[in-house]
């Protein structure tokens, strides 16, 4: 019974999220939004690549680096979208739609509600990620033969990685209870740290050595590594481009990813409950800032 209610809440909020993401204007606009925006994002990346490869001395003909950056950037869309999306859900439900308090006082589990909203965010982002990867392979000449892709590893790594990202998002949602709309900065900051230090586009070894320990404790680092192996193959130029992770065997990478994901899931429960409690104590569940 309880499980059924949780499942119903999850389905319902995922449905709502999907409506919110896809229905806000019209289908054409949605299609353009989910194709043009990700591709535009990759063009910035191409410039960065040219810059980086010159800085590395090799000139703009380094397919391993380009593949490394391109896939990292595409997958990072999940991190950015979920981290921004979750806070956006709390703040918009609270202040714009003024529905947060009514969902909050319903018997629905609020954690599961945010979970459902995050999952629909992931679904929408997946469209963008796939579009970006196809664009990279067809238009930018990234060498990613389908036969090289390890599908089981990809699905496994993807599932664990996304669970980890969602756990991050839920913890942030707990914090977002306490922050006002446009209070700004926190999510951008956290996403920025991940982007910089987890090897999303900059190989970790390119960064100053003091940042390496940071990279080695952040699960996103291992997720991106596992995904690069899954897409390009172990020992491929892309997967071993980053010297720091080149030595990891894949089971080790998966294990670290799994353990840190579990830790972050537990943490997200704690932070979410704490944020919930503090918000109720301070009267922030129906806060409007009227900026």
């Amino acid at each position: 019974m309880a499980m059924r209610n949780l499942w119903r809440t999850f389905k319902n909020s995922a449905w709502l999220g999907w409506q919110m993401e896809s229905n806000w204007a019209d289908p054409y606009l949605f299609a353009i939004y989910s194709i043009v925006k990700p591709i535009a994002g990759t063009l910035i990346l191409v410039f960065m690549y040219i810059f980086l490869s010159y800085a590395g001395g090799g000139g703009p003909t380094n397919p391993s680096l380009f593949g490394y950056m391109y896939l990292g950037n595409a997958l990072f869309m999940y991190v950015a979208q979920v981290l921004f999306g979750v806070t956006w859900v709390i703040h918009d439900d609270r202040e714009h739609y003024q529905t947060l308090k009514y969902i909050y006082i319903s018997p629905a589990n609020f954690y599961v509600y945010i979970l459902g909203r995050s999952v629909s965010k992931i679904a929408v982002t997946t469209i963008g990620v796939i579009v970006t990867i196809i664009f990279g392979v067809t238009a930018l000449g990234i060498q990613m033969p389908l036969s090289n892709i390890s599908w089981p590893l990809m699905l496994l790594g993807m599932s664990i990685g996304l669970a980890c990202i969602i756990a991050f998002g839920l913890a942030l949602a707990g914090v977002s209870f306490l922050t006002a709309r446009h209070a700004g900065g926190m999510n951008e900051g956290i996403a920025g740290i991940f982007y910089l230090f987890c090897g999303a586009i900059f190989p970790i070894t390119v960064l100053p050595s003091w940042s390496w320990p940071l990279a080695s404790v952040l699960p996103i680092t291992y997720w991106l590594y596992v995904m690069r192996v899954a897409f390009f193959g172990l020992g491929s130029g892309v997967a071993s481009y980053d010297a720091m992770l080149a030595g990891y065997d894949i089971m080790q990478g998966l294990l670290i990813l799994t353990v840190s994901t579990l830790i972050f899931i537990a943490l997200s429960f704690v932070i979410f409950r704490f944020g919930d409690y503090m918000a109720r104590k301070k009267g922030l569940i129906d806060m409007t800032t009227g900026y």
């Binding site: 209610n5 809440t9 319902n12 449905w15 709502l16 319903s106 629905a108 109720r280 569940i285 129906d286």
Partner: protein, 335 residues
């Protein structure tokens, strides 16, 4: 466990406003030692002016806000430690806001909320249609919420509140800012809903004394966070002696203040209707002998008396007696 639908014990809530430049921290007692009991089946009103603490009370009872001190029980469960148990039995509608997902249709919005309560989809759809009919909103069922007027959104939210068939519903100023017709519709609906089955409980807040008088079985009068009286409307009004309530309509009087200082007046309130230029002075007298002084003060102040009568006390008079000032603002005379 208590057998009350709602019970509060020494309930307190303070707010500490953030320090602003130049201004020190301020502590507001939004609710102070409130002791209230609402029985199952009652239509209970909380009447008080703006800032009295009505919304704060509703928020605590509906599990949105924790009390600072004291306890509150809803459906026998503590709002502090058993909020998850309370939530199956309650719902809430707040006036004066336009909540809802604008890009969903009215039906989608309502259906979605019904799912958060685990109501089987078919039952939910039936109830939604029925209530949309009651609220005269049936042809808006498939309209996007963003196209609705404030009044329609408010009615949609009434459907949202009542469709879960709560044991206890909290209505925070449900007719705030609505036109007369819509307000009347909503009042009528609430009255019938509570009577239709035993043990349906309504706790509503309002600052319209007519609304409280017309609807409520019992009323708590509240001001500055303190419950001043709690009784049936009849008993409350009986506290003010009929002989002592005097209403005078005056024209041409800029300031009615001088009247208020006359000896023998227990309470005084003046409301000016700027459109008509008429000031209605309500007085509650301790001594009949004050009347002649009052009349001469009015003439001296340049006022011309249009009408004067002793009347049955209203809840407004009860409030004036208790607090020493009127309940409604001058520019806020909605029926």
């Amino acid at each position: 466990m208590t057998s009350y639908a709602v019970e509060t014990r020494e309930l307190c809530r303070t707010f500490t406003s953030k320090e602003k430049r130049g201004e020190p921290k301020k502590v507001v007692n939004a609710l102070e030692n409130a002791n209230l009991t609402v029985k199952p089946g009652e239509l209970f009103g909380v009447l008080g002016p703006n800032g009295a603490g009505k919304t704060t009370l509703i928020k605590i009872l509906s599990t949105l806000l924790l009390p600072t001190k004291g306890e509150a029980f809803v459906h026998g469960h503590s709002v502090k430690t058993e909020s998850h148990k309370i939530r199956y039995h309650i719902n809430m509608v707040c006036g004066g806001e336009s909540s809802g997902y604008g890009l969903l249709t009215v039906r989608e919005n309502l259906w979605m909320f019904s799912q958060f309560y685990g109501i089987p989809s078919k039952l939910a759809k039936g109830r939604i249609d029925e209530l949309l009919g009651v609220m005269n909103l049936q042809d808006k069922g498939d309209a996007k919420v963003r196209t609705l007027s404030t009044g329609m959104r408010q009615k949609m939210n009434m459907v949202r509140g009542f469709m879960t068939d709560p044991a206890i519903i909290f209505l925070d100023e449900p007719t705030l800012g609505l036109d007369v017709t819509t307000s009347r519709q909503i009042r009528l609906f609430v009255k019938e809903w509570v009577k239709a089955e035993t043990d349906r409980t309504v706790l509503l807040t309002t600052h319209y004394m007519m609304e409280a008088d017309e609807l409520c079985d019992r009323i708590a009068i509240i001001d500055k966070g303190t419950v001043l009286a709690c009784d049936t409307p009849e008993n409350l009004k009986r506290r003010v002696k009929r002989e002592s309530v005097l209403r005078i309509e005056v024209t041409g009087m800029g300031d009615a203040k001088p009247v208020s200082g006359i000896k023998g007046i227990h309470a005084f309130n003046a409301i000016t209707d700027p459109a008509k230029g008429v000031t209605t002075i309500s007085l509650i007298l301790d001594e009949e002998s004050a009347i002649s002084d009052i009349l001469s003060a009015i003439t001296k102040g340049g006022g011309r008396i249009q009408a004067m009568q002793k009347t049955d006390p209203t809840l407004e008079d009860v409030f004036i007696t208790l607090v020493g000032r009127g309940l409604e603002n001058d520019n806020d005379n909605q029926p």
